[in-house]
């Protein structure tokens, strides 16, 4: 065969039009909208730009959307009340499709293009961990509304959160299993695909065994599984008093339905990953989950004037009761506004310093104080499922 021209060169020549096309797309896509000319950030007089990255589509969209709606509501209320330091807040939201790898890009865009003074996000610990090194590198404070894995805020001194962390949640559920459920033998079913689930299971086990309980079975699954019969059969054979499932709502429903089919009648209980209206939407899931419990950050039935006010305005805007993610999304924006106000200037470094000094901040999800590790110390709420509805059970203080 004869090939007179070198392939790469000839390919390039013959496909010059495609190169042009590609270049045009690149230029359009990247330079198309020029970044604001520096006046957006800091000491200007225009709106204070706040970035948010969230799982608005994909696997954890139910959480991402709730949290986002809470944040939007908070920003609207702050702006309606005259803004912060006489300036409005402008919320810029980026979606990461609940995918690994997209959060870092989205956050870089928020920081370098939009020049935000702070970043709010994310629900899932795995994706907060991806954005954290970026925020730390550019010295932009990040407030995660509801990533409960301890590692998140260990990424640097610019990373904060407004929720409690998994060790606390694990402790609360271990205490609850012993005192309220009167369980001595507990089986644990963990989603090994989710850092959240693995962490919570570990902390629960430590405390539960430490308090004299017994873990009779430890079964695993991953976030793509739909059939849990093998694990549940193994759990049934050891006859536990209760089953701890620290997983996300989408699987919890399937797990409990399949467990009831297999004749496991003991209560299931879990963490804040359970809380989404979707948990009870499938046919028969309300009955299956009757008498199950989970710990979370907030309940709309909670008895505090601050919470009641929030529930009212949230219902007026979205026509639904807020869940914990919405409350935490709301609190993250509120705390940021509070820190900007205390700093007296919308500069990332000063905002960080003020965030670190947060003490007895009155959020809708409870009083919170940020400790030296930038985690919120606050109370947890336990919710039970009765007649196909979430019912407030009790509040557990740290």
């Amino acid at each position: 065969m004869s090939q007179s021209a070198p392939p790469a060169a000839s390919i390039f020549r013959r496909h010059f039009r495609h190169f042009l096309l590609l270049t045009a797309v690149t230029v359009l896509g990247l330079v198309g909208c020029k970044p604001s000319d520096g006046s957006g950030a800091g000491s200007g007089t225009g709106a204070i730009k706040v970035g948010e990255f969230a799982s608005l589509t994909g696997n954890e969209a139910a959480f991402g959307r709730s949290s986002h709606q809470g944040t939007v509501l908070a920003v609207e209320e702050i702006n309606a009340a005259g803004g912060v330091l006489g300036r409005q807040l402008e919320l810029i939201t980026e979606d990461n499709q609940s995918k690994q790898d997209e959060s870092a890009t989205a956050v870089k865009k928020l920081i370098s293009r939009d020049k935000v003074v702070a970043v709010l996000g994310e629900v899932a610990s795995g994706r907060s961990l991806e954005a954290a090194p970026i925020c730390q590198q550019y010295k932009i404070p990040q407030i995660s509304p509801s990533s409960t894995n301890p590692k998140v805020t260990q990424m640097g001194d610019y990373i904060f959160r407004v929720c409690f962390i998994d060790p606390f949640q694990g402790t609360v559920m271990a205490k609850f299993a012993q005192s309220t459920l009167k369980a001595k033998k507990v089986a644990v079913l963990t989603d090994v695909g989710a850092p959240y689930s693995v962490g919570l299971a570990t902390f629960f086990k430590e405390r539960f065994v430490g308090d004299g309980g017994e873990i009779v079975a430890e079964q695993k699954f991953t976030n793509t599984d739909k059939d849990f019969k093998a694990q549940l059969t193994a759990i049934k054979s050891v006859a536990p008093d209760a089953v701890f499932v620290p997983a996300y709502y989408s699987q919890v429903t399937l797990i409990v339905l399949q467990a009831r089919e297999l004749g496991i009648t003991v209560p299931f209980f879990g963490g804040d990953g359970w809380e989404a209206p979707e948990l009870l939407q499938g046919s028969g899931s309300g009955e299956a989950l009757e008498g199950c419990y989970f710990s979370t950050h907030f309940s709309p039935d909670q008895d505090s004037p601050r919470a009641k006010e929030f529930v009212k305005s949230y219902e007026a805007k979205y026509g639904a009761k807020p869940d914990a993610m919405a409350a935490l999304g709301y609190d993250s924006a509120l705390l940021l506004a509070d820190a900007i106000r205390r700093a007296g200037v919308a500069e990332p470094t000063q905002i960080r310093d003020m965030l670190a000094q947060t003490k007895d901040f009155d959020g809708v999800s409870g009083m919170m104080t940020l400790d030296a590790d930038r985690n919120a110390r606050k109370s947890a709420v336990i919710i039970g499922i009765r007649d196909g509805k979430f019912v407030y059970k009790e509040t557990v203080n740290p």
């Binding site: 065969m1 004869s2 090939q3 021209a5 070198p6 392939p7 790469a8 060169a9 390919i11 390039f12 013959r14 496909h15 495609h18 190169f19 590609l22 797309v25 690149t26 896509g29 990247l30 198309g32 909208c33 970044p35 608005l56 589509t57 810029i92 980026e94 979606d95 499709q97 995918k99 690994q100 790898d101 997209e102 870092a104 890009t105 989205a106 870089k108 865009k109 920081i111 370098s112 293009r113 939009d114 610990s125 795995g126 961990l129 991806e130 090194p133 970026i134 590198q137 550019y138 894995n149 590692k151 990424m155 090994v192 695909g193 989710a194 850092p195 689930s197 693995v198 991953t222 976030n223």
Partner: protein, 324 residues
């Protein structure tokens, strides 16, 4: 067959890569982020193209090899480096170590490619797809269950070593090696295997060996790309190397045109840019907000229309010198 032109292109590309690396600090970080991801995706897509396009096999496990590379390279810089490098080692030494880490990443991926490929490439057609699909899943499950590697949470705090020079250098090298290999006398064996396996075998060719070579070389570069990706996102996690990631790479190869290196390069760039371009579009004005909200849907619709309009691949052209 000598390709002075191809080698010249390699040199030009390398020079451009070094230039980009030098200019990196002056560029918008978001822009740099996208450029880096394009380079990593080019490396992945071109290396998969050697297996799926040129050699005519169908691998669905490319992200698995990428994951092996990512974890190997991360382990080299996180765990091995403190023992090997003297304290306070300078930038030059760190760079050399990164090169070693990337080579190890490629080596480990190639080795697993050999282990997976040697028995399974005797299979034909769809069976290989299933085997590689299974392999990809197994890799994700293994990483998820190895506690020293962070389990489901993955590894954090990986130092930022990947810059545009590394990323584009690797991409240029991949393109060069794949092109040179396919255009060499030896490489005609890949095309023969692809075009008609029975005829090639009756000519006395060992088609299994050709397939294995393509598979191992492809896996090597997937491993390198994984190493680059890990030192770029600074945290890795088994979820980033799952089946969906493999599919993304397969889509790049198909959109670019199976076996068309230049097409695959352009497709990798285009498909990396597309979601970001849609993101930018939705940020332009509030009336375009819906673009951002329906981004995954728009992306899929664009993909379907591309395939309907250009089933042979968006940037496909007639392959020179082959009879088919």
């Amino acid at each position: 067959m000598k390709h002075p032109g191809a080698r010249r292109w390699l040199l030009v590309a390398m020079a451009v890569a070094v230039g980009l690396g030098w200019a990196q600090d002056r560029l918008d970080p978001y822009f740099v982020d996208i450029l880096t991801r394009i380079a990593i995706n080019i490396t992945l897509a071109v290396s998969l193209n050697l297996i799926n396009g040129h050699a005519g096999q169908f691998s669905l496990g490319h992200a698995g090899f990428m994951g092996i590379g990512a974890y190997t390279a991360a382990a080299m810089t996180l765990f091995a480096a403190p023992h090997v490098l003297p304290g306070g080692a300078g930038g030059w030494l760190l760079g050399m170590w990164f090169l070693v880490a990337l080579m190890a990443a490629g080596g480990m991926a190639a080795l697993s490619g050999l282990v997976v490929g040697a028995p399974s490439l005797r299979l034909k057609g769809d069976y290989l797809a299933i085997v590689t699909l299974g392999f990809g899943q197994i890799i994700a499950v293994i990483f998820r269950n190895i506690e020293p590697l962070g389990g489901a949470l993955g590894l954090q705090g990986i130092p930022a070593r990947t810059n545009l020079a590394w990323a584009y250098g690797a991409a240029a090298l991949t393109v060069y090696v794949v092109t040179a290999l396919v255009n060499s006398t030896y490489g005609r064996g890949f095309l023969a295997t692809h075009d008609d396996e029975v005829a090639a075998e009756s000519m006395g060719m060992n088609t299994t060996r050709y397939k294995i070579v393509a598979f191992v070389v492809g896996s090597f570069f997937a491993g390198v790309a994984g190493g680059l990706a890990g030192h770029f996102t600074l945290s890795i996690n088994p979820r980033g190397f799952d089946f969906n990631r493999s599919i993304e790479i397969v889509v790049m190869v198909i959109v670019g045109g199976m076996g068309r290196t230049m097409g695959v390069i352009l497709a990798a760039a285009l498909l990396t840019l597309l979601p970001e371009a849609l993101r930018m579009l939705s940020g332009l004005s509030p009336s375009l907000r819906w673009v951002g909200e329906t981004r995954p849907l728009l992306y899929s619709i664009l993909l379907i229309s591309l395939m309907l309009l250009r089933p042979q691949g968006l940037f496909a052209w007639k392959r020179k010198g082959t009879v088919s």
